[in-house]
């Protein structure tokens, strides 16, 4: 192996990341080439120098700011989320159900008797024209009905 092919192998060799066969090949070359041997030592030295740089720690505010940013992110809703019950929808549906059950279980207010129905049937024509009669002006000009009409009839008969 020539020095040109060493270019891509020196660093992996220094890292110990070469495969066994490649490593043996590199070592064979290094045994015969002083320049590449020097280069390997220098790369090792550079790698050692890079280890000297200190590591920084995240600031105390980093986590707090990060949590705030994540909390401020809008919640993504998928298509299926349409079917997920929201508390507001659940409340509305329960109220509707309760109202339906309550109305359905309530007894009728005033059931009509057969006599009442007969009376309505007799007066159905008057009731049908109720709108006309209620607004009929001549009727409003009539004198008020005489009270105790039956009572005065009875007195006359006695006399």
């Amino acid at each position: 192996m020539g020095c040109g092919r060493m270019e891509n192998r020196i660093l992996p060799y220094v890292d110990g990341r070469l495969k066994e066969g490649e490593r043996q090949e590199v070592e064979k070359h290094l045994a015969a080439c002083a320049a590449c041997r020097l280069r390997v030592n220098e790369f090792r030295a550079v790698s050692g120098l890079l280890d000297e740089l200190p590591v920084i720690e995240p600031s105390a505010a980093f986590d707090i700011r990060m949590q705030a940013r994540v909390a401020a992110e809008p919640m993504k809703q998928s298509w299926w989320a349409w079917f997920a019950p929201t508390p507001r929808a659940v409340l509305a549906a329960s109220m509707l159900l309760l109202a339906t059950v309550w109305l359905g279980s309530r007894p009728p207010d005033s059931p009509l008797s057969a006599a009442d129905i007969d009376k309505i049937n007799q007066n159905i024509q008057v009731l049908e024209n109720y709108d006309v009669i209620s607004d009929f002006a001549p009727l409003s000009e009539l004198p008020p009905p005489v009270e105790n009409d039956d009572a005065s009839d009875n007195q006359n008969q006695q006399m």
Binding site: E7, N8, R9, I10, L11, P12, D15, R17, N41, E42, F43, R44, A45, V46, S47, G48, L49, L50, E52, L53, P54, V55, I56, E57, P58, S59, F62, D63, R65, M66, R69, V70, E73, K76, S78
Partner: protein, 191 residues
């Protein structure tokens, strides 16, 4: 990540806890500004959170995470470069060798000898400057390779290049560092 995808918020918190430190360190070494590195790390996590439902485990999670981080860092460096160019037209010239330096957790307490401490500070500064001088893609490759210990396949996916191109990129980066840090390298090689 699959638990996060399933809507488990607790898993996202665990993910955050597991990766925030390596991510912030990577971004800090890329952009050389702590505040900016934390802002970018937040942006990375928010993007992960937003994309959780579309996540397909076709690649390793770290590959995906550092790909987002690398793209954001490279964009940020480009934006800053344009910003600096605009500012430099009007701003007065100042000489500040410490510009961009950040206070980091240090081990000064371990060195009662102030001289030794200063020597170590100078060494660290030289190393930092040598990394800063690398072209952006080479810098990202070195940082992912050295500090995240990702394998060549993963790094090449993050940087969107072939494995062979990545090895070549790393070789050139190490060559530059070797030259830039020659006095320290010679010293280190002797030890």
């Amino acid at each position: 990540m699959l638990d996060v995808k399933a809507g488990d918020e607790q898993s996202f918190a665990l993910l955050l806890h597991r990766y925030r430190s390596p991510l912030i360190n990577f971004l800090y070494r890329m952009v050389r500004n702590r505040e900016q590195a934390e802002d970018l790390a937040q942006e990375v996590f928010i993007r992960v959170y937003r994309a959780r439902e579309e996540y397909v485990p076709s690649a390793k999670f770290t590959t995906w995470l550092f790909r987002i981080a690398t793209n954001l860092a490279l964009n940020s460096l480009r934006d800053n470069r344009y910003q600096r160019m605009e500012i430099s037209l009007d701003a007065p010239v100042t000489v500040d060798a410490e510009e961009g330096e950040e206070k980091t957790i240090d081990v000064a307490e371990k060195h009662p000898n102030i001289e030794q401490h200063l020597v170590e500070q100078t060494r660290k500064k030289m190393i930092r400057h040598a990394i800063d001088k690398l072209p952006e893609k080479q810098r990202a490759a070195v940082l992912l390779h050295k500090y995240q210990e990702l394998d060549y396949g993963e790094i090449s996916k993050i940087l969107q290049c072939s494995e062979s191109a990545l090895k070549s990129l790393l070789f050139r980066a190490y060559e530059t560092l070797r030259v830039e840090l020659a006095p320290l390298v010679a010293q280190q090689a002797r030890q």
